[in-house]
């Protein structure tokens, strides 16, 4: 009888060793972080900083955990960085495990990081995972008098229903008197962006007189996109952390400059 009791004990201890999972598609577990964008933005706004805004634009950590760890090591060596933006496709399959593994690595950045939604993050229950872990899909924050407008441009995931990107929300976000930086995952040049919304979108953002930069990811190419009209502000895509690329953007006296890094 004692042997049975001992075996039962070992048995139950063993069963506690693994991490319990209800479903790979569950949108949170006991230890999942919440509202990370809000926390990190608050942390950013409390750092004094200087006249220069310098941030790292990285994207597409999807299924690239080794490269994400290498990215963090590289990013932490760049001087004068205020924050990091992960511009979409945090996950590959929209799964909780993926977003948690990526966050575990990104939390080792010495500066706050902010996540923007990508198309891969919207499959299965990914939208629910992202919203709980990071926050709203369209959001903005003002840092050193520049308003960063982070928004959802993953039109194909919504079957091009005309509501993504949300032009009404964007119009309202641009009511401020200061300068802006626009950040989305899918660039307007992509077939995954709702081309019916593109002219209005371009007029609102790229052609806005106080827009400093239009930043995207998704295409796996680091590219500065040429101006299509004389009022166009700079627009670029960053190649992706999965491709071992990121971009260091500096804004000084409303001047935009970028340095691309292969790590």
């Amino acid at each position: 009888m004692t042997r049975t009791s001992l075996l039962l004990l070992v048995f139950f201890i063993l069963s506690g060793c693994g991490k319990l999972e209800y479903s790979p598609n569950q949108s949170f577990d006991r230890n999942s972080p919440v509202a990370l964008n809000k926390t990190n933005i608050n942390r950013l706004l409390q750092t004094p900083g200087d006249d220069t805004i310098r941030f790292i634009l990285g994207g597409d950590t999807q299924r690239a955990y080794d490269n994400t760890s290498a990215f963090v090591a590289s990013a932490n060596r760049v001087p004068g960085v205020d924050f990091v933006v992960i511009d979409g496709d945090i996950s590959d399959f929209g799964l909780l495990l993926e977003m948690e593994e990526v966050h575990e690595r990104l939390s080792k950045l010495s500066v706050p990081y902010i996540a923007v939604i990508g198309n891969h993050d919207l499959v299965s229950h990914g939208e629910t995972v992202f919203k709980r872990m990071y926050g709203d899909l369209d959001f903005s924050f003002t840092y050193k008098q520049v308003k960063f407008i982070c928004h959802n441009t993953n039109s194909r995931e919504y079957k091009f229903n005309g509501r993504v990107p949300d032009l009404d929300w964007l119009g309202n976000a641009l009511h401020d008197p200061g300068y802006f930086v626009s950040i989305g995952h899918v660039p307007p040049v992509s077939g995954d962006f709702d081309q019916a919304l593109r002219p209005h979108y371009t007029k609102l953002l790229r052609q806005h007189p106080r827009m400093l930069a239009n930043l995207y990811a998704h295409t796996t190419k680091t590219e500065v996109l040429p101006a299509e009209s004389e009022n166009d502000s700079p627009m670029m895509t960053t190649g992706g952390i999965n491709m071992r690329m990121y971009s260091v953007i500096t804004l000084v006296n409303t001047q935009f400059s970028v340095k691309h890094v292969a790590f």
């Binding site: 048995f11 209800y22 479903s23 569950q26 399959f93 299965s124 194909r156």
Partner: protein
């Protein structure tokens, strides 16, 4: 709410026809009742177990549910198979089956899931995996207590713990072995089997 697409209806009908309907269809009568907590097939799950391979294996048909408060809503149908190659007798009525490898497939119901991504919405091979169907590799340990001393009786109650991973986790790990350990992709569950 439920989204009844063709694949969902087919999966539900298949599951329904395999569960025992009448006593006459003797071979459809299950050999065990299975219930499980966690283990990637629901927060709670329940199903029918069939003994196969001369009592050394099992085939289970299980339905599991994850409520919204636990990270769902997820409705999951699972087909599980496992073998029990080793048996360690503890006493005349108690035995441990320490390492039981198995495979299982889960089907996730709902509007966000289908066998393949919608061809009308996405160009060919835009996303390569199946959102609804997951393939899992598993291993369990089972402690079985016979309820009837007679050799001929199979009546027993068993407690088990099971570890599993799935195809997408495995792909993620394989490509990132520098910073992802195999244990990072292993998930656990515990369950009860009542053998009739």
């Amino acid at each position: 709410m439920w989204h009844f697409n063709r694949s969902t209806i087919a999966a539900v009908l298949l599951l329904g026809t395999l569960l025992p309907a009448r006593a006459q269809l003797g071979f459809l009568k299950p050999d065990a009742l299975v219930s499980q907590y966690a283990g990637s097939i629901g927060q709670g799950s329940i199903g029918a177990g069939y003994t196969i391979f001369n009592k050394k294996g099992n085939l289970d048909l299980v339905y599991g549910y994850v409520p919204k408060a636990a990270g769902g809503v997820d409705h999951i149908a699972t087909i599980k198979t496992a073998v029990r190659p080793w048996k360690i007798p503890v006493s005349p009525q108690v035995a441990v089956y320490p390492v039981n490898p198995g495979l299982f497939a889960t089907w996730h119901f709902g509007a966000d899931y289908d066998l393949r991504f919608d061809e009308a919405q996405y160009p060919n091979n835009y996303y390569w995996w199946s959102p609804a169907l997951r393939l899992h590799l598993a291993v369990s340990s089972e402690l079985r207590i016979k309820l009837n001393k007679r050799e001929s009786s199979d009546r027993a109650i068993a407690l088990y713990s099971e570890f599993n991973t799935n195809d997408l986790y495995a792909v993620s790990w394989w490509q990132n072995r520098e910073t992802v350990s195999f244990f990072d992709i292993v998930r656990a569950g515990v369950g009860l089997r009542i053998y009739f």
